[in-house]
Amino acid sequence: MKGPTASWRCVEAAAGLLAPLEREVVLGDLAETDCDVWRGLGDVLGLVARRQLALWKSWRPWAASFGLALPASLFLMGCSVEASAAVADVLREPEQAQLLWLSLFTLFLVISWAWMAGFVIGSVSRATLWASLLACCVPCLYCLSKWPGHGLSHLRLLIFLLPGLWGVWRGRREMRLGLGWAVLLAAMATLTPLMWGKGGWVYGCWLFWPGWYLAATARRKQE
């Protein structure tokens, strides 16, 4: 392949989006042909695009990004704000200390729901995580830009983000949970939307599916 080394590095970087074996083969093919850098880059990016498009023929990326990441980010932002506000209220007015446990419990539900949703996203569609992250980040960024207030109040919107990312990481690695954990999370996933009234739980009912998906695909003991 003709061209300066820096350009070749671009082609190699683009080939990083391919699976390791395919990257090896394609870079080898380009190394022995006499094409220029632009054609090489086109070849690599064309293959990456075709591979990505092929993935979208399955239900998995659609379910992960539009069936879960997008609605879950909206749901969890609302839950994060309510749960953190409840904890903040109790801390501000110590005479309501008896509510502290309830507030901490709701916060715990939000965090574990976010972890579970992240796990399902990571395990359902590993190769299209970028789309799920995009579907999650766009509403977050929109709400952050509209949210009145500064500093810490912004972060209240995103309490779910770190446990969610942790869940994605675990989901990518493990794919399935043990049956006990999966059923526990499924029960919790059913409870969480019900914690929020004013019609929020009706929307939340759509979000029962990740918990029960985990339970349905869980590892059984004999496996």
Partner: protein
Amino acid sequence: MVGEFEFLILSAAAHLGEEAYGAAMREVIEAKCGRTCSLGALYITLDRLEAKGLVQTWMSAPTQQRGGRAKRIVRVTGEGVRAAREFYQAVIKMSSGTVWGESRRSGLPGDAA
């Protein structure tokens, strides 16, 4: 029945025999057909052909010529030979009696192109 590009890939692999792999097949297709062939189209089509059982592919040992990288070697299976023959015969039959089909036999001007 295979598609046109699948037929070209099967033919390129058959021409190259033991030396059929991505870069060599692309070179043959471009030289013989006078059209560009992207590696993306080539490998996606190869995957499809392999899924249909028309070719087999495996990784070779790395070579110095390719910067120490392996090749994906391609071999046409018996099923692939049958599928390519079927496509070729369909093209020949469909072309008989047409201007391009007759010019092939009589060597009319334009055939060289």
